[in-house]
Amino acid sequence: MPAPRTYWISSRPTGRWDKGGDNVDKEVAIIAYAQTKYEADANASRELQVLEVTVAALKAAGLKREDLDTIITANNDYLDGRTISNMRLVEPSGAWRKNESKVEMDGAFAMLYAVTRILSGDHDIALVVAESQASVYGTYLPGIMMLDPTFDRQRWLLNEVSAAALQASSYMDAAGVSVEQIAGVAAKNLENAALNPVALRSLKGADAKKVLASRPLCSPITELMASPLCDGACALVLASAKAAAKAEKPVWVKGVGFSHDSYLTERGSLDNMGSLKLAAEACYKQAGIDDPASQIELAELHECFAHEELMAYEALGFCDPMQGGAFFDSGATKKGGELPVNTSGGALGANVACAAGLTRVIEAAMQIRGDAGKHQVKGVKTALAHGQTGLCAQENIVYVLGGE
């Protein structure tokens, strides 16, 4: 087993989140949310899916369209196949003649923009809507279009899966993790997904063997280790303390951290999630968390590939560096464990590009409120949610959420 090592950190964000004492707890609350069922090819346009979740989220919040101050959508022109992809979502997201903007990243990042809009004091109630439809874009094309256009794209070798395979191999080599352990993560999440009514893919009685026997994509990644891109939308209503006063069971944003890593071919190494570690540090400082493994009761991670979950355990400080495999083997992250991870099935259950990270926030909030139905874990008061964007999780955002 290689010796644990420390990550090199060049600089950190300052500002309020890093000042420790100046916390934002009880300033912004999640008061409602909604998800569509995630499907391989939904029988609805993206506009109709957005309309569905907007109406459902507003209904759950007991609000009318008129009550909304600002609307942030999360989508991507390449996924929508349309320049200015937010433009047609003005009406279905309830943004007509309202203050609207778009974050072209995962919805979890769009949520940060909505949080800042509320913290600024200019807005009290914000709606965040995230969507995409994998049935309308070429599976790996948007990822290929993210590559450096002069060199990496021309070689036609790198895409989301081949880049992830390089990362998985690099991580296995550095941390001594076996492909069976990675397959085990996929099996855990697919088994969990069987209890989540909106998940696209699940496998009762899944084990590492079945995962490894699925269609090989790019060694060591097999089909069941890669998240299934699909169609869907989700929405979240955020409120200032004042506006949340009337809400039932508000879930408070206790901290958030966000960091951007170097470009894929410019990273020192792919065997760790440096930007996730920085994001987590900033978030924990804000939320007053010094021992994440014991203080966090449940985590929803945005794992586009199974190995990313093991790497995230380390970056989030659930275990020591390079101990992700051993931590998984301890069973702590299973549904009945000390720190259940992805009880919803995670992104391996359904990955709507631009929405899967926001879905993690929604699932974490559901667990805190006790709304998670069959996959509910008892007594969750503090939960972590993670979202990512970019190849090999280049950009990461972490939230710590808490109940009353």
Partner: protein, 409 residues
């Protein structure tokens, strides 16, 4: 009202020309970002967060900051990507206002750019119309009617211009005058694209008619360029610069998506010259900024006008005069550099249009005029309050920001 005072402490612009063959996207952006670091007197390590945006279909790169941001000093920092079409630059600036205003991040570098020579912008824009065209064909609309809206932005602009001329009494002569005013201002701006010193309305009137009433001389160029602005707290801005430009408010509003309503996207925006959402955004921005009478209190306006008629149209929609009055205000000379309410001293979008950056360059020009850094194009009157505007989407998105030489009381 933002918790933190928000101010602009630095502005950087790249060279703006039609084809920058000597640099790639990341290098082009670096010119502006580096200029901004130098202007504000800071280093990349001092920045807490970045906000960026462009129109990705125009260059053919999805999320270009994924490979570019490391070259702009954004290593291991938050990089929030905000894109909203033509309003992108304005939306990124609004992002800077909220990120600083929230108290989460003290120093935010906002970056907006477009390198149109790397791709085909009209092709990129046509993907907007594709969904419309499909729906119209399904409804049995005559394809020749649909084709009338074709040709990217110009097709929509002529419809809007005709409607504006009918409702306001604006003549083609006014369009020529607007073009001459802007191109002459642009000649004094080292960062503008089309510089035409001494251009007269008569010369504009002789340019090719594209589609009535728009002539070649009334239309913006396609530009490669980038703009960067440092947003920070009032306190830090005062340490960095003698005269920061305070951002008093930001507001946006969206009308219904234009032309036809598609399943789930509601009704149709019948008249693209109405721009009700601009009036709503302007009124909201003035309200937050504590401006009671914009006609008296605003000293300078930078409306987003890639087509000549839009300068007059948005002057009205920004509530700076009654509807239909802008053409006569233009005739009075009030919009000139030495006038009472100078408009587009930068030369405007009609002279320089690096699309993703354009709406931010409006905010940047307001800031530079307030800071007194405009050199030859510095307006004669002292600028206390200025309004910056951005427009885009399917002619339905509007963003407005109000800047001032004093923090909000």
């Amino acid at each position: 009202m933002a918790k933190n005072e928000v101010a602009v402490a630095g502005v950087g612009l790249s060279k703006h020309v039609s084809k920058r063959r000597d640099v790639n996207i990341a290098e082009l952006v670096w010119e502006a970002v580096n200029a901004c670091y130098e202007d504000a007197g800071i280093k990349p390590k001092d920045v807490d967060a970045f906000a960026t945006g462009n129109m990705p279909a125009f260059e053919g790169v999805n999320m270009p900051e994924e490979w570019g941001a490391g070259h702009w000093g954004a290593y291991n920092k938050p990089v929030l990507r905000i894109t909203t079409g033509g309003t992108t630059g304005g939306s990124v600036a609004h992002g800077g206002y909220y990120l600083v205003g929230s108290g989460l991040y003290d120093m935010v570098m906002c970056i907006a750019f477009e390198k149109q020579s790397d791709g085909n912008s009209t092709m990129g824009l046509n993907t907007v119309a594709l969904a419309d065209a499909a729906a119209q064909l399904q409804l049995g609309v005559d394809p020749s009617f649909i084709a009338a809206f074709g040709g990217g932005a110009v097709g929509v602009a002529v419809y809007q211009a005709s409607s504006y001329m009918k409702s306001s009494g604006c003549t083609t002569n006014h369009l020529d005058k607007v073009a001459a005013l802007c191109r002459n201002n642009a000649a004094l701006n080292p960062y503008s694209h089309l510089k035409q010193p001494g251009l007269t309305p008569e010369e504009v009137a002789k340019t090719t008619l594209l589609q009535y009433p728009i002539r070649f001389g009334h239309v913006c160029p396609a530009t490669d360029g980038a703009c960067a602005m440092l947003f920070t707290t009032g306190e830090k801005a005062r340490k960095l610069t003698d005269k920061p430009a305070y951002v008093l408010s930001c507001a946006s509003a969206s009308d219904e998506a234009a032309l036809v309503g598609i399943a789930g996207s509601g009704t149709t925006n019948v008249d693209p010259c109405e721009q009700e959402s601009c009036k709503i955004a302007a009124a909201r921005a003035y309200e937050i900024a504590g401006i009671k009478d914009p006609r008296k209190e605003i000293d300078l306006a930078e409306p987003y006008a890639p087509f000549a008629h839009q300068l007059l149209m948005f002057y009205e929609r920004l509530l700076l005069c009654n509807e239909g009055e802008a053409p006569s205000i233009l005739d009075s000379g009030s919009m000139n550099l030495e006038g009472e309410l100078p408009v587009c001293p930068s030369g405007g979008v009609i002279s320089t249009n690096a699309i993703g950056a354009s709406a931010m360059e409006r905010v940047a020009e307001c800031a530079l005029q307030i800071m007194g850094k405009c050199g030859e194009r510095q307006v004669k009157k002292e600028v206390h309050k200025a309004v910056a505007h951005g427009w885009g989407g399917a002619v339905n998105l509007n963003v407005v920001a109000v800047l001032s030489d004093e923090p909000r009381r």
